[in-house]
């Protein structure tokens, strides 16, 4: 289908001062065609329930034409002109217009009538970016690309390939550069709660030294070891999987979720000579986990502390980074900033697809007192304050990850938290996540899952 369109001609036909309707007619309509949507598979001005999206599209089902039924779109598009009035619109990443368009597409993808939408595009025919939605998360699926006559075919091919191979899973890395903040506990309880919500979950324990997660679930390494898969492509990584089972009331074993356990071989890669055997280095784990993204709803990776081959592998393999912190642990707050400011950009540069993204931090094992909250907020303020000329401002690159509800109008410094609860940490000895045993623990982690991931 793509070969039918002369893209040189399409791009030449768009005037430099094209307003939005011209971009829609001359660029977006051929684009939809190239992405495989026939004219009765898209509509304009789709009512999302949170404002109209410029375009919405879905493949027709048997006996249902999307252009007629106008329900359950798969893709929504926010179009901008190259100019608006006399003002030039620059959609390059980081510009104010880009931020606005990104906010708009995120809003549409999370709107009531887009609950089945998985993809969003923003474009003004000069720049284009694809976004993906998973539950409550909207994340970039490509970087924001500048369109030229030389790369237009590649860009469309790249977008089409993603649309045609919809990944099912959201891959979450639970990471903080600082240890002892409850990463493993968070991982297994989040897995438990997602399973209770009927989600298919895979947990990856990529901690070479402790393997706490594997131990706390009472699991052993599988027939094939993950450490061997890192160096040998002929092995089947599916065989590393160990099911985590629990007995139901009738006494039968029921699978809760799958686990790729940590194994005794992983720690040898802490030595240089072994690490040299891993082709693609810290990008190798991402390759290995790729076959699972069409099978599970969630892949949770428990990453070890500090920025090594292991944690970097986990971050590269992920869509989003969830960072537990503790309100009374200053380093855990400070190190989260290090992840956002230094480690993530490093990985984004390598990935070239806009990912992964950080989620706002949360307080783990939180015991709320007026004084401790005040102190934590003072510490956070110190971490995210930067100088702009002579004045102090809150760093816009950090603010949304600490105080996501803070705006110029409302100085809301709420941070989500999981309350302290003794049974959560002691549950490790019973080889069973606390969320499966205690109502209260389940409630806490369901809140966490809803805050970040689950669409209500």
């Amino acid at each position: 289908m793509m070969t039918n369109i002369d893209w040189d001609q399409v791009l030449d036909s768009i005037s430099e001062n094209a307003a939005e309707p011209e971009v829609e007619d001359r660029f977006v309509k051929p684009l939809l065609n190239a992405l495989g949507f026939s004219p009765d598979e898209w509509v304009q001005q789709f009512k999302t329930g949170k404002g109209p999206a410029d375009f919405a599209a879905r493949k027709n089902d048997e006996g249902d034409k999307f252009s007629v039924s106008k329900i359950n779109p798969n893709l929504v598009i926010e179009v901008k002109g190259r100019v608006s009035g006399k003002a030039i619109i620059n959609l390059a990443e980081g510009t104010p217009m880009y931020k606005k368009a990104k906010e708009q597409i995120t809003g549409y993808l999370l709107a009531p009538k887009c609950q089945t939408s998985q993809w969003g595009i923003i474009t003004n025919s000069t720049d284009i970016q694809l976004f993906r939605r998973h539950g409550k998360i909207v994340l970039p699926a490509t970087n924001c690309m500048r369109i030229t006559q030389n790369n237009i075919i590649d860009i469309i091919t790249r977008i089409k390939k993603l649309l045609d191979n919809q990944p099912k899973a959201l891959t979450i890395c639970i990471y903080n550069d600082k240890g002892g903040v409850g990463k493993t506990t968070t991982t297994i309880n989040l897995a438990a709660i997602l399973r209770q919500q009927q989600k298919k979950v895979l947990v990856v324990d990529f901690d070479p030294q402790q393997g706490d997660l594997t131990d706390s679930l009472g699991l052993q390494e599988g027939k094939v070891k993950l450490s061997d898969c890192l160096v040998d492509e002929s092995l089947n990584v599916k065989e590393t999987i160990q099911p985590f089972n629990l007995k139901n009331k009738a006494g039968q074993l029921v699978k809760m979720f799958d686990v790729i356990p940590s194994d005794s071989g992983l720690s040898k890669f802490m030595g240089y000579e072994y690490e040299a055997k891993i082709e693609k280095g810290s990008a190798r784990l991402r390759d290995l986990l790729d076959i699972f993204v069409r099978h599970y709803d969630y892949i949770l990776i428990d990453a070890p502390t500090s920025w090594t081959f292991f944690s970097k592998s986990c971050v590269i393999a992920s869509d989003v980074i969830l960072m537990p912190t503790e309100h009374n642990n200053f380093s855990s707050l400070k190190n989260a900033a290090k992840v956002i400011k230094y480690f993530l950009p490093e990985v984004k540069k390598l990935r070239q697809d806009g990912g992964p993204i950080a989620l706002p931090i949360f307080f783990n094992r939180h015991k709320e007192t007026e004084a401790s909250i005040k102190r934590a907020n003072a510490e956070i303020k110190a971490i995210i304050t930067v100088k702009k000329g002579e004045t102090d401002i809150l760093d816009p690159n950090l603010l949304p990850y600490y105080w996501p509800k803070y705006t110029k109008a409302v100085t809301d410094t709420t941070i989500f938290y999981v309350p302290e609860y003794e049974v959560v940490s002691s549950a490790a000895f019973s080889r069973k996540p606390a969320a499966f045993q205690h109502k209260k623990a389940a409630e806490y982690y369901l809140k966490l899952a809803k805050e970040y991931f689950l669409y209500e």
């Binding site: 190259r82 620059n90 990935r351």
Partner: protein
């Protein structure tokens, strides 16, 4: 995703994943001896093979073909390699450093000292008694070598560089008139341009030393212009006030590649 994670690292790769397009011409006895030395060192080749990636988990030898031949002779399972960025210029460099290719000197532009050095090398290598490097270099410099399109004019300089020797000469010299500077990029609007587009143009002016732009920091200036709040600009006059900006003397040149 790009595989840049591999690049520049010393890696321990399966020999079976590495192929070679060029045979090694070293004698069997030397290869066998070297293989023995590697085996005695616990199967470790201390001089790595230089490879490039040809696909996912696939490699090709770029240089140190000798080590590759030795590794095969020794029937190694894993071999130490360095994966390089496969830009043609890098591959050429790796071959030159491994002495598998000669660096070439551009006869059209080379300095006198360089030409003398190359001629001395040729004389020594081929035992050319009739060539006097200094004299020959003087004659080449006095010629209109910038206009040459091949080596034939060399044979007319009466300096011992005869037609029969041209094959050897072509292995170390090239001829190419210095290329004209690349055409300037198209004008862009500073309001509309991406950061890369701004940088490309500043970098063009800077690398081609146009209008004093060789003294600017193209990266920082591009950032300053891209990040400036340009919504209300009515002309380009705010640019000299940016930090770092451009002094007003440069604005004339600036306007050859930028509009508002």
């Amino acid at each position: 995703m790009s595989n840049s994670e591999n690049i520049g690292k010393l890696m321990h790769l399966k020999l079976s994943k590495i192929e070679s397009a060029e045979p090694c011409s070293e004698s069997e006895f030397i290869i066998a001896g070297a293989a023995e030395a590697v085996l005695q060192a616990g199967n470790r080749n201390w001089i790595p093979i230089i490879v490039k990636e040809t696909g996912d988990y696939q490699y090709q030898v770029v240089s140190n073909h000798f080590v590759y031949a030795v590794a095969q002779q020794a029937k190694l399972d894993l071999v130490w390699c360095i994966v390089i960025d496969p830009k043609p210029s890098n591959i050429e460099q790796a071959k030159i450093l491994a002495r598998e290719a000669n660096p070439k000197v551009n006869l059209s532009t080379a300095s006198k000292d360089t030409i003398i050095a190359v001629l001395k090398y040729l004389v020594q290598e081929h035992n050319w008694k009739t060539v006097k490097p200094v004299e020959a270099a003087n004659k080449i410099l006095a010629s209109n070598r910038e206009q040459w399109s091949d080596f034939i004019p060399l044979t007319k300089l009466q300096c011992g560089l005869t037609k029969a020797r041209l094959d050897c000469i072509a292995k170390v010299f090239t001829i190419s008139p210095p290329p004209p500077p690349p055409p300037p990029p198209e004008k862009v609007s500073v309001k509309r341009a991406s950061r890369d587009e701004i940088f490309d143009r500043l970098n063009y002016l800077s690398t081609n030393k146009i209008g004093g732009f060789e003294n600017i920091d193209a990266e920082k200036t591009a950032d300053a212009i891209f990040n400036a709040n340009k919504g209300k600009w009515k002309s380009l006059t705010p640019i000299p006030k940016l930090e770092p900006g451009l002094d007003t003397a440069k604005m004339k040149t600036f306007k050859t590649l930028f509009t508002l």
